[in-house]
Amino acid sequence: MIALASLRERWRSLLGTLLTLAVAVAVLTVCGLLLVSARPVAPERYAASPVLIRPVPPAAPEAFTEPRPWPKEQAEALAIRLAAVPGVSAAVPVHRFYAQVLRDGAPVAGERDASNWSAAALGGHVLATGRAPAGSGEVVLGASLGMPVGARVELLTAAGPEQFTVTGTVRGAGTWVADSVAGARAGGVPLIGLLTSADADADADADADAGDGDGDGRDAGVAAAATAIVGADGVVLVGDARGAAEPVDDARTRWIGMQVLSALSALGLFVSVFIVASTFAFATRQRERELGLLRLLGAVPRQVRRWVLGEVVLLGLLGGAVGIPVGLLAAGPVARWLVRTGFEPASFTVLYQPVVPVAAMAAGVLVALVGAWAAARRAARVGPLAALRAAAVDDRPVTLVRMLAGGVALAAAVAAGVAATRASGANLGTYALYAAMALVTAGSLLAPVLLPPAVRLLTAPFARGRGATVLLVRQHVATAGRRSAAAAAPVLLCVAFTVLIGGMVQTTTAYYGLNRVTAADATAVVVPDGTPGLSDAAVTAAGGLSALPTTLYDGVEPLPAAGVTPAEHVLLTVADGSLTALHRPPPVRPSDAAGPAEQAVPAVGLPRPLPAGPGRARSVGPVVPVAVTEGFAASAGWVTGSTHPVFGPDGRPITLEVVAVLAGGPLPAGILLDRAAVRAMDPSALTVVVYSGQPVPESALGGLGARPLSAAAYAASSQDEDDRLVWVFTALLIAVSAGFGLLAVVNTMLMSTTGRAGDLRVLKLSGATRGQVLGLLAAETAVVVATGAALGLAVAVAALAALARGLSVQLGVPVPMVIPWGTLAATVGVCLVLAVAAATLPALASNAAGRGRGSAA
């Protein structure tokens, strides 16, 4: 009853907290729904195959590379044995290669690969019109493209645009060519799909009953038999686990989406706890007399604590009641936005799991409880004598516990900062964010200690004036350290996060921009336009320097590599060895050569055969000369002349021979090899960007899915899709943290002024005019905002320094720290305006209605 009555009485001052909790619960509901929904989905094209077998993926799923494929022969052999499993009607190896439909010379979005026609059955696709592809220039397309049988269609492949004739169409989307064509065009086999007997009969809608009870048992049996056959050579996926076969791009997009949603949830939780904590710390201080009265009347400390917590639980439930409907309504639009922005794959839909709102509600209550815990403990310590004090005396000294907690938070911030210097990619930003969270906590806890000297320093230039305002401001802030600290904390939070997040992005992009301009001393660059990369035809047309990225495999672990031609040597600095041996004629594939791999070695014209001495890695497959970067050589322990058995992008074993170690500058990959060798092993490899010494006319790139950019435009633009996503991510985080922060600023200021009504009355009675009182409030607020902003800036700069250091260590180049002054000015400005308004408006209002109140205080 007391808690409820008290809420009713004080609802105005708790409105901010309620709003915060509602927003937090809404954010959590949305993020929770989306996180639960963001599960890998088996690609449409394998929907009809109840059991999928794929090669063993790398240990770290965040590598986002395709698992090392099976060489064709091995896949064929596996497929034959799998087809013999009882219940299996067919085992289809998938041969996939890059082939994007061009319409009027422009690449069509969506399906970017062509597969063997046999694999169409894995998606339940059957011919709607026409016949299956048979010859080399024939293709079957999804009816969604609207190309009739007999039409000529241009497909952009890794080589360049090629003409095909449409021989048939199927419902849905996809591109299929004759098995023999796909077999010759594709590298290794990334997947074998099984069709089971029942599925072979039922056709297009087989996927609908693939999950039925009857089918489940049969599928499980087939899966078990398949597992026995593939052994350590692959992974058998059945049921929902087939989602693991989603395209790596989708997996990557989903992962980024998860990062965004997790960061938003974490930030929302943190900020909510923070705001609840500061609000209730404030409220407790203001209600000390009331609490003392209750103690006087016989309340034991436990009762007081329960009372405060009960109030908070009610607030949390109320916030949930408001936040959950908002979250449920917002989830759909947000999901669509995430898909549109590219944080989630197109297949993403919201699953409305009832557990999510319940969990969000619980989290809201928990957040409120955690936030108010310290305040409740403090409230319980209020003695009965507090009721008898004439005026609430602020400022007990800062407790040891608070100092210790501040120290712990500071240590955590340092740890996160150190972790940031060692992390890479998205983790780097996450650690920097953690560091900032810890620093904000430390800053707020230690603010009562830091604030008075900071204020004295800040106001020192005005101390000599005759006016009462400066004196009062200085005295108020300096003597009421805790109250001022509580008011300054949200400003600290707001400034720290916006500046950090803004600075984080500017620091990283500044580095990339710097890197890009110097990359090739280029006047123009050619970048993909609607395609995942540049075809060889586009590279030739662009006529500049480029690298052809691919992936080698050390066991199952990916090794990023890139192919270069002698022209690119101008970009390379040799530290050891020589580049001349890099471009020996491409190795002849064992399948092309008649004999075994060992005999293929002399066939590629190797100057000297490799002596198979002791301590030397056994040479397997053809020998491929490579140059490695110093960084890679150091981390992998490779030296000039050493050889290393690895696997090529087509899954076949090869042996790398290090012919040179490269010094300096950023290079496209740790391992460089001959471009033709990459092309021979990886028929679908695409070039990322071409740097050209002269301007490239747009006409030269017509119909090639590429566009030219000036070097300046390129440097200024986001390097790729990932950069754009990071930007959106950043904007989102800034918006959420600044929004929460400003809410907190207004909230604390409102509370602070309300709590000072008595003080202000005294001031007025001692002859201060209304204008002077308001001026005093404004000045005091400005000082608090300024010091909060200064502390926040310090926090952000510390975290940014860690980030810049991390980038420097990672890339071996000094990275300057960029502080976003514009963002800083805007944030502080908005904080100041809102805070002053929030502080003075209630004072104005209380002027009008100030008489009657205060009797119950």
Partner: protein, 245 residues
């Protein structure tokens, strides 16, 4: 303990340390407050009268000496036990009315019972309010009541647990003379009608005159005791005491 006194102080000493100074608030005070008596404690500012009340009520600890309330020695009690003693055996009324603004007069009155987890009986609450003449104001919030009315609600609240002793600290300090008279009359009625023990700290001779007995404190010592006096005589005795001190 053979004494029949409800509250008994024996050689109580209490000092406060403020920086380098040590202030002796109570310097060996002994006093007894028998059941059903109405005692006023007077003295100049800083004479220790408020400290006496706070110590006697177990709100503050003493340096030495002994205090018993309703037969219980305060010295051996934990804070928790003292809280329970306050809740069950002691009532308070203060200068500031000290009502919870969020609760109605009736709810404020019932608060000690709720804190004690006793079911508040509507009849008991109504009766307590009736005794202070506020039966018809039960549903009002403190902000809707006058100062005198608020103080009477505070008295009703103090009585709801039927305490052994009611401590009042300047209960009329913030009231005009008419309201003061009503509040004092209410206290007097409690003593006469219900045998309530009341200890009231005041600096107002008119208020003190309502009591059966007046104790006068100066510099932490009991310097005078006046019984059955009118305000004029009390004022005179106080003035004389001040001169003598």
């Amino acid at each position: 303990m053979t004494s029949t006194a409800t509250v008994r102080l024996h050689a109580v000493r209490k000092t406060y340390r403020t920086g380098a100074h040590t202030v002796t608030a109570l310097d060996g005070v002994s006093a007894e407050f028998t059941a059903g008596s109405f005692t006023a404690v007077m003295g100049a500012s800083g004479s220790g009268k408020s400290t006496l009340l706070q110590c006697a009520a177990g709100l503050d600890t003493v340096d030495s000496g002994q205090i018993t309330v309703d037969g219980t020695d305060l010295a051996g009690l934990s804070e928790h036990a003292r809280t329970l003693l306050r809740r069950d055996r002691i009532g308070f009324v203060f200068q500031a009315y000290n009502l919870v603004g969020a609760l109605t007069a009736a709810q404020n009155t019932a608060l000690p019972l709720r804190l004690a987890r006793r079911a508040p009986q509507g009849a008991a609450v109504a009766q307590a309010l009736a005794e202070v003449g506020l039966a018809e104001r039960a549903g009002h919030y403190p902000a809707q009541l006058s100062g005198g009315e608020q103080q009477r609600v505070a008295i009703a609240r103090a009585l709801i647990t039927r305490p052994a002793v009611l401590f009042a600290d300047e209960p009329t300090g913030a009231l005009d003379s008419t309201s003061s008279a009503v509040v004092l009359a209410a206290l007097r009625r409690l003593v006469d009608g219900h045998g309530q023990t009341v200890v009231m700290v005041t600096h107002d001779p008119a208020a003190a005159a309502v009591a059966d007995r007046v104790l006068v404190l100066a510099d932490g010592r009991l310097v005078d005791e006046i019984t059955g006096a009118d305000p004029a005589r009390i004022a005179a005795r106080l003035a004389a005491g001040a001169v003598a001190a």
